[in-house]
């Protein structure tokens, strides 16, 4: 039958064409990332040097740097990590291991999935009203870190739950059979087994936080900071050590510094922006690469 042969040939051709077209489209999306990285590196890589990393912002683009910005980013990340990681893991453990099926649990679950989809700038507005004014934290590192902590909380919770879910039921039952309490099961078995899974999620969440700009602008982070937050150890005769004084300091962060330079006229500032972008993207993509490797090794190593 000639017609059926022809129709088979046509089917094969269609499959072939789509297979190639789909591959090209995928390649196009990957290339977009490649072009972006190339464009950024071409404009900014030569500008990233010791002077750039250790100078404060300046009106003269050639002397400006990102010292206060990267220090600010690190300190904000510290506050975010200290709040969001324990809270997120605890919430994940509760929902996966403790929660009974009742209305309260489903309210919490629906709430978390909704929260994950709220635009980041809304978190900024919440923080402006609540942290900055109501709680009186001002436009400080504390307020900024808490804002991003709230923002990444759902990511940490979901990652924790997924990591716990991969542990087979038998593990829990074996521990209970030996008389372990629920907390003993969590502490001695579930948390150790899920550490790398949780770590993967936490790294991805932190890389998201480090690139966030909008919520920090909304709470009023400054764009021009030519000083560092106070060091924890000061030569003040009254109080030699003030370990938490820095959390009240005003701050700027890398993405805000970059935004500030992008919106200024002049190619030199644009080059500075690109250089800040190089540092920023190296941080975020580096963290993501670590997470991907971690997950890949995890998948290969663990066979329940």
């Amino acid at each position: 039958m000639l017609t059926s042969e022809r129709s088979i040939a046509r089917t094969r051709l269609h499959d072939r064409v789509f297979s190639i077209a789909g591959g090209l489209v995928t390649l196009g999306a990957v290339m977009f990332l490649g072009v972006l990285l190339f464009d950024l590196a071409r404009d900014g890589l030569s500008r990233v040097d010791w002077q750039f990393l250790t100078s404060f912002p300046s009106r003269r683009p050639g002397q400006a740097g990102i010292f206060s910005a990267w220090v600010g980013s690190m300190l904000i990340m510290l506050v975010t990590a200290v709040t969001a990681i324990p809270l997120g893991i605890a919430a994940g453990v509760y929902l996966e291991e403790y929660a009974r099926k009742n209305w309260m649990t489903s309210v919490i679950e629906i709430n978390i999935s909704n929260l994950a989809a709220v635009p980041s700038i809304i978190f900024g507005l919440m923080a402006l009203g609540l942290f900055v004014y109501k709680f009186g934290f001002g436009q400080s590192i504390l307020a900024g870190g808490l804002t991003l902590g709230c923002l990444i909380l759902p990511i940490v919770i979901v990652a924790t739950r997924e990591a716990l879910r991969t542990i087979p039921r038998g593990m829990r039952e074996a521990a209970y059979a030996l008389g372990a309490t629920r907390w003993q099961v969590v502490r001695h078995h579930l948390l150790p087994y899920s550490t790398s899974g949780i770590a993967t999620g936490v790294i991805i969440a932190m890389s998201r936080a480090i690139g966030e700009t909008a919520p920090l602008i909304t709470i009023g982070a400054l764009t021009f900071i030519a000083f560092l937050p106070p060091a924890p150890i000061v030569t003040d005769p009254e109080l030699m050590i003030q370990p938490l004084r820095w959390v009240w300091s005003p701050f700027t962060v890398l993405p805000i510094q970059m935004f500030n330079w992008v919106s200024r006229p002049g190619d030199d500032f644009l080059r500075n922006a690109a250089a800040a972008g190089v540092v920023l993207i190296a941080l975020t993509l580096g963290m993501n690469a670590v997470a991907i490797v971690l997950r890949y090794r995890l998948r290969r190593r663990i066979k329940w």
């Binding site: 499959d15 972006l36 950024l40 929260l115």
Partner: protein
Amino acid sequence: MPQAYTPSTSVDGPGPGGTRVEALPALRPRSALSRALEWLVESSLLLAAAFSVFVTAGIVYVLATESIPFFRHVSIWEFFTDRMWTPMFAEPRHGILPLVAGTLTTTAVALVVAMPVGTMIAIWLSEFAPSRVREIVKPVMEMLAAVPTVVYGYFAVDFVTPALQHLIPGLPTFNMLGPGIVMGVMIIPYVSSLSEDAIRAVPMLLREGSYAMGAGRLTTALRVVFPAAFSGIAAAYVLAISRAVGETMIVAIAAGQQPNLTFNPLDPAATITAFIVQVSLGDLPHGSVGYQSIFAAGVTLFVMTLGFNIIGAYLKRRYRQAY
């Protein structure tokens, strides 16, 4: 939980071979301290889980308390019908429409990019690509979603818009097309990964049935798998819309800062998010109408995204239940 029980301290008697069986240690009831600790742990974990509800409550509380005074100054009617948004002018006008128009236009441009490309990538990855290619492409897609948005904004202004100006002479430096396209690429991973999940949930039997009828892979993908996975793919679209509506930095950098009631992507226009950023950068006194206006804009944004999220969650639940 095993019930505590108190057995006799030793069990004597003939074992299987007539030998004596070792004495079992006594099972003691758990101490009050241990039970208190368990209770304490469970309560604090519950508190941590409940914290996320407090965050949502905080969002709703702030948006409500800060925008209610705003709507005492500005009538809801004016807010939705006035065609000008100039809250910072000496004679302020408060019509949200120009900002909504900017938001919808940039979102539409992004969707025109992300929907076909994202769907095609999802179908290709799940139905056509060899598994080794998939292992490489998926992490790269994740990287696409991990690029900070301010970097995307830079790329829109520095590369995409100038490139477009070669194709479209007279395109202004700030326009909605360039950032819209970049935003579209940014949300491709959201569309493709959610769609792929939905496509994978389609049972193999459906595909095999189609192949048995003589259909090719493309016909099976488009006529059988795609319709079967459609509610999941639609959920991916809707959640991508919500992302695009709430995206801030790309449009704040590259689309312009002037509210402009237009749906033409070649024009510059501010979005809701760009307006909030612009005002936040300035130094508005706490409690002024200008300050409150960003919360009124925020409420609008929150309601829009909430609506899309609810539709998306509904569609997602539907495809999960289907098989």
